[in-house]
Symmetry: C2
Subunit: 154 residues, 2 copies
DNA sequence: GTGTCTGCAAACAGTTTGCACTTCT
DNA sequence: AGAAGTGCAAACTGTTTGCAGACAC
């Protein structure tokens, strides 16, 4: 479902994170690294609560505060992305080492399908030139009703 | 900056809202209509706090609760869209009567530029067919650094 | 050793909700 | 009359923060 890029020539996410922290004069700690590792352990969208639960299941009792303090670091380092805000809280996904993808969301059952499409990258490039922007990324979300939910509506 | 569609053949947003409410067995009230009117009175992104302030400036003392209760109705009716969650709260824009547009966001100064691009609509259409989705809309946000912020970084 | 980080608990902010009263039909 | 809506204030929930002790460098 979510293909990885060829990692052979890439730094690991841990290396990237350590370099990011060092460059900011911040420390690499067991807590931060455990959070990072857990974030990359599953290929699904997640929220802070789920992440904390997963850490607990590993026997790691990392405080809520530390997780909340670490999330912006992961985002700033480019390893993780805020995907959408829903049900009163933010949802994230890790993006490092994965091809860029967009989201197709069913407004009926709330199911989310990922897809890739090169055309969006081209649009992005053109817009960047037109507006003199240095583009670093994009988010495309398409929404509607999946087949099952279309039938339910009738 | 943000061109309107040709309104001559369109229902007004008020008509749309009234029909939406009626169809849901809900009432059209002065509060709901004042909120709707104020939402369509300015062509900018806004948040609930700003909206309440603008209503106050009109001498309308509509409670926070009513505004919070009305926002989901405006979204559900398709008149308004949630644009992004930032600084701890949601930001909206009205979309009825306006061509669809996307957002280009500067990560440096947080400035947001709107743009239109037909290619995205085509992508949307194709994805809908591939996935058997009935597409109702999309959100594309491209981010990066504007020219001024690129220079600042050097 | 020094400055950063963690965990805790309290604080905060946006949003939701229960309730008594009002309003629309 | 009855159902639905409003305003108020309290409750709720996700997130942030101050502080004392712990730890990385």
């Amino acid at each position: 479902m979510r293909p990885s890029l060829n990692h052979s020539k890439m730094k690991s996410e841990l290396e990237v994170f350590r370099e990011f922290l060092e460059q900011k004069g911040m420390r690499s700690t067991p807590e931060r690294e455990a959070i990072l590792t857990e974030v990359f352990a599953h290929h699904d969208h997640f929220d802070v609560e789920e992440l904390i639960m997963r850490l607990r299941h590993q026997g790691l009792r990392i405080s809520r505060a530390s997780v909340y303090r670490t999330m912006p670091l992961l985002v700033e380092s480019g390893l993780v992305q805020e995907v959408f805000f829903e049900d009163g809280h933010m949802h994230y996904e890790h993006i490092y080492g994965h091809e860029h993808h967009c989201h197709l969301r069913c407004l009926g059952c709330r199911k989310i399908i990922e897809f890739r499409n090169g055309a969006v990258e081209e649009v992005e490039k053109r817009i960047g030139q037109d507006q003199q922007f240095e583009i670093t990324g994009h988010k495309l979300e398409i929404y509607g009703y999946c087949q099952a939910c279309q039938e339910k509506k009738d």
